[in-house]
């Protein structure tokens, strides 16, 4: 199927000489949730800003729904709703007016019923006549989402949607995003909260210093790069790993108190049973054991470190 967004060889060099993007290639499939993960200053916002028409690209091309974002900007932009990172709002406008304003900007005829529906979905209906300056940060974030949805876009960009949002509201926000996906909207979110990508995304792209390091299905990514570790706490501290256990490639930590066994969970045999038998053979008594699967965070940190 044709991708809904196709980015090819996209580069951006700001006037200051800073290279925010260095040849990005990326395709987004219709209906997926794509998470763009990266540290601050990696180029996430620049990439989104170019696709949405806020920043000019230095090189490369982008199509949205097959429409070039420069030549055919009206068709391309009509498909996109953008929720910016900063809580930028017209403080003196009412919630209802500001959401209706965005719909108008996108060339859609007024439709109060539809606007009311969005406000209800986002639990903003009670606040529809409030001025934006009277709302909390979390509520303002919802208003920005409502504005982005006001013109019934096919694609929703969420730039750090849960930055500065408390935990319960974050969970609500995730729920909202899932519902949107169910209605067929393609969602691209940037985040530096790994938990968020792990929770939400179908696919993950990791960006650092203007380059896409990898793009992978989340499950695939976790499987390929995720390792599992078995930690064994031993009763008597060991000076070294006994010869008889050399084939397991064990690590000795914690002043000889902990043995760490790293294994591939997907492998045919994990050799755990054998290890435990050999431990007993060597006369090592185990007090406690714990298994740990590397999280996206571990993967992410190691990838970004590798690059630097």
């Amino acid at each position: 199927m044709q991708p809904i967004i196709a980015v090819s060889r996209l580069s951006k060099k700001y006037d200051s000489g800073f290279e925010a993007l260095k040849g990005i290639d990326l395709e987004i499939a219709r209906g997926e949730i794509f998470a763009l993960l990266g540290p601050n200053g990696a180029g996430k916002t620049t990439l989104i800003s170019i696709i949405c028409g806020i920043v000019n690209a230095s090189d490369g091309a982008v199509t949205v729904g097959g429409h070039d974002i420069v030549r055919d900007y009206r068709a391309a932009r009509s498909m996109i709703g953008l929720v910016p990172q900063e809580l930028t709002t017209d403080q003196f406008e009412s919630v209802f007016d500001t959401v209706s304003f965005t719909r108008g900007l996108f060339g859609k005829a007024p439709n109060p019923t539809y606007i009311e529906k969005i406000l209800k979905d986002l639990s903003l209906y009670d606040k529809r006549d409030n001025k934006l300056r009277e709302l909390s940060g979390g509520m303002k974030r919802r208003v920005l989402i409502a504005k982005a949805l006001s013109h019934e876009p096919d694609i929703l960009f969420l730039d750090e949607p849960t930055a500065g949002v408390d935990v319960s509201l974050r969970k609500d926000m995730w729920e909202v995003i899932r519902k949107l996906r169910e209605s067929g909207v393609t969602i691209i979110l940037t985040t530096h909260y790994i938990e968020e990508a792990e929770e939400m995304a179908d696919r993950i792209g990791i960006i650092s210093q203007g380059r896409l390091l990898l793009v992978e299905r989340k499950a695939e990514l976790m499987r390929k790069l995720g390792v599992k570790q078995l930690k064994l706490e031993v009763r008597e501290p060991l000076a070294s790993v006994p010869e008889s256990l050399a084939t397991y490639d064990l690590e000795l930590n914690d002043e000889g108190r902990t043995l760490v066994y790293t294994f591939d969970r997907q492998g045919e045999r994990t050799r755990i049973t054998a290890l435990l038998a050999d431990l007993q053979q060597a006369g090592i008594r185990v007090r406690d054991l714990d298994t740990h699967q590397s999280s996206l965070e571990d993967i992410f940190v190691s990838l970004v470190k590798e690059q630097q």
């Binding site: 028409g53 009206r74 009509s78 304003f101 900007l105 060339g107």
Partner: protein
């Protein structure tokens, strides 16, 4: 053409204005009345007529021009500066609107506001002096062209300004002096010859003169020059706006 968007921007700006309508209307009405008291009554009683027109009536077109220029510039400048300042400009840039439509929305609203004020001042002035408008068509043409042109200039200032100080600077330091020195309260015949020649370099003189001619058929310069001047301003402003949008100056990096 995205008419919905033009309408949205225009209505947004007009609604913002409505919220402060009292202040927006009362202050020019009061200052106009004060000008009448000071110039019309105190000074006017010693001047009597200029070119056969009573001094009180003579200054009316100048007063309207003063407000028209000041308000067009500041309304349009503020209109486009504010979203830049708050950051909501992202919405305009990411919407399927052409630059032409953005300009039409903001400049249309700026011009509308200043025209409303101009009409209010005309009505206020009519309470103080006998007014007659010899050429209503020309009067309206000058009113519209000036309001639109100076709203464009205001739009340019709003794009250029990156702080509130710059936003105030041009109206205060350029527009107001040019209007005062452009014959709004006198005919340049009343100046010494040297200053008459200097004043001919003041572009605002041509606007005021033409506008006054449409009322009383008295003018400092011929109508042709006045029309040429306003068209020159219009073309110059349009060119700059066109350049801004072509380059994305102060809007897009």
């Amino acid at each position: 053409m995205n008419f919905q968007a033009v309408k949205s921007i225009y209505m947004f700006e007009m609604n913002r204005w409505k919220r402060t309508v009292l202040q927006s209307i009362i202050s020019p009405v009061i200052s106009t009345s004060l000008y009448f008291v000071v110039f019309g009554a105190a000074i006017g009683s010693r001047i009597e007529t200029v070119g056969g027109v009573s001094y009180g009536a003579f200054i009316v077109p100048g007063l309207i021009m003063l407000t028209l220029l000041q308000q067009s510039v500041s309304a349009a400048a503020f209109g486009i500066y504010f979203p830049k300042f708050t950051g909501t400009i992202y919405e305009l840039l990411s919407a399927p609107v052409s630059f032409f439509e953005i300009v039409l929305g903001y400049v249309g609203a700026g011009a509308t506001k200043s025209i409303i004020l101009g009409v209010i001042i005309l009505a206020t002035a009519a309470l103080f002096v006998d007014l007659r408008i010899a050429h209503p068509f020309w009067m309206i043409a000058f009113l519209l062209l000036t309001a639109f042109t100076f709203s464009l200039i205001g739009f340019i200032i709003g794009i250029w300004a990156d702080n509130f100080e710059k936003l105030q600077l041009v109206p205060l330091l350029v527009i107001t002096p040019l209007v005062f020195l452009g014959g709004s309260f006198y005919s340049i015949d009343m100046l010494p010859p040297f200053w008459q020649n200097v004043t001919l370099f003041n572009p605002v003189l041509y606007l005021i003169s033409g506008f006054r001619w449409s009322f009383f058929e008295v003018s400092d310069v011929s109508l042709v020059w006045s029309v040429a001047a306003i068209l020159f301003f219009l073309v110059a402003a349009l060119s700059v706006v066109w350049w801004i949008f072509k380059t994305g100056y102060q809007l897009k990096s």
